[in-house]
Symmetry: C2
Subunit: 314 residues, 2 copies
């Protein structure tokens, strides 16, 4: 299935498939040079590299893989510079393509490097986590962290394509699957009652990655993200803010706990419960909303409240 | 006098004046927050800082100055990171403004930092060299160098205003004035016969910075740059390439000589002579063109040919 982020000349497709077999045909139709780099992790390249690189190489692509250490601290300016020096060391005629093959860290880092290398080269998002497939790979928010602040350095720079292969999610640990589910819950709550109901009904199938169910959930989530980004690319029109539901408190919890205790999805789960409770207090919604939200979050194996973290720090 | 770079929502004025007295009125009309940083060199701040900062502070602006070492190697990712950490260390509500106050190194570095700090904050170009006033401060090409390659890291990120105070050029050494004249010659040759003739007639007055003459030359040069950038912001339509007249060979000469022997303007002067000679050989123009070009370049005290540099390296 193909969705589209509509941004005029910067429009791009989001593809949800069960393999990478169709990637070369799609890319060749876009007129790329068939030369590029794949930024990823060594473990990911070992596990899924052949699935992506095989078809591309058979189609004549010359690709160099660049493995990045698998840790949050890889999202740094120092790593961006290392990556850029690596790209600059290979003389190329024309414009090569950068392929971000991994989770949020890879997508944010490689997207940022693509944004600033030679004043911008094309890049593709090939996300391998549920969270990246439904959220971070779409929308062009790229960047790195400073030691004292997350996402303080970056750009709005859209990819030329997002390719979601749901089959690679099989190797995701359960905790990361649950983390991705938190963002799907968010989409359901902010924009799509049918998506929310589907998740409530098929939560076990979702966590087990039953193909039809997980594909449907990813497609509906991506459709919402695509629609919101199309309407407010740079978060200047008060529309893209919707995607931050649960993120104000969620980010605060992550920061207050040094980004070690909760995954992003777990922090967002708590943040959504807190935001919904606040909405009730402010008279903006009925008690039924946080109750139903809390129920599905609990069933997804995600936390609904924070304890042991300083209220002042948050 | 006010010119405009026309880029829709990203349009901005280029102001050519003989002081900074009008800066606060202009900025306040643009709705900025009156909080920001001035990135510059210590020597420049000592000499002209009061002229710029005085009026702004009296108008209620809270400005912090950030001096950068006065050398080409300040245009690095490491310096960009240092600058960004400095910006991040000051918590601000709202969106502060970055003011680039200096020559090409300051403009390129500060503009790049403005492009990537918090995914882009507004910045102003207040160029203090002739070359920056007529060329590098306009058009949004910002970036830093890698050790092995100039301008390999950067962005197209337009300033919100360019303020050219011709009075500060007085402290420019003659070699730097001549270097700026090379770009004015370029504008005359690619787009404005009257500008070329004015320069031929008033070259001495230009180098002596006679106010009426230098203002007219800067205004006409800026008008051409503004027109070209308005028509082809990202150099994708074959129009902005015109501004590179003399730069293909000029850049090669700079690189082959390790950026130490010639100023940018000197290398471009040689490059223009070489390009014009090539044009004659290709039957694209008459011999009269390089002859007239060479004459004005010589009279400006700029080199017309390179010797002692390896042809292979170039």
């Amino acid at each position: 299935m193909t969705l589209t982020v509509r941004l005029g000349a910067r429009s791009y497709p989001i593809i949800v498939e069960r393999s990478y077999a169709g990637v070369p045909t799609r890319l060749n139709a876009m007129g790329f040079m068939r030369v590029g780099w794949v930024v990823s992790h060594a473990s990911l390249l070992a596990r899924h590299g052949r699935g992506l690189l095989g078809p591309l190489r058979r189609a004549g692509w010359q690709l160099e893989t660049i493995p990045i250490p698998e840790r949050e601290s890889s999202k740094s300016l120092a790593m961006a510079e290392r990556l850029i020096r690596r790209l600059a060391s290979r003389p190329t005629r024309g414009v090569p393509v950068l392929i971000a093959f991994g989770g949020g860290v890879i997508g944010d880092l490689a997207g940022f490097v693509a944004a600033i290398f030679r004043r911008g080269i094309p890049y593709l998002q090939v996300p391998t986590t549920l969270l990246a497939q439904v959220d971070s790979a779409i929308g062009g928010k790229v960047g790195v962290d400073l030691p004292q602040a997350k996402n303080f350095v970056g750009a709005f720079y859209q990819p030329r394509l997002v390719w979601n292969n749901v089959a690679v999610l099989k190797s995701l640990p359960m905790r990361q699957r649950r983390s991705g589910v938190a963002e799907i819950i968010k989409y359901g709550l902010i924009a799509d009652a049918a998506l929310f109901e589907l998740l409530e009904r098929r939560l076990d199938a979702c966590l087990a990655l039953q193909p039809a169910v997980i594909s449907a959930l990813i497609e509906r989530s991506c459709a919402i993200k695509a629609r919101v980004v199309s309407a407010d690319e740079r978060e200047t029109r008060g529309i893209r803010h919707q995607l931050n539901f649960g993120h104000t408190i969620g980010h605060a919890l992550e920061a207050a706990s040094g980004y070690r205790r909760w995954t992003h999805g777990e922090a967002i789960a708590i943040g959504m419960c807190a935001a919904a409770a606040l909405a009730v207090e402010l008279g903006l919604c009925s008690r039924a909303v946080p109750e139903r939200l809390t129920r599905v979050i609990e069933r997804a194996g995600l936390p609904t409240r924070a304890s042991g973290v300083s209220r002042e720090a948050v």
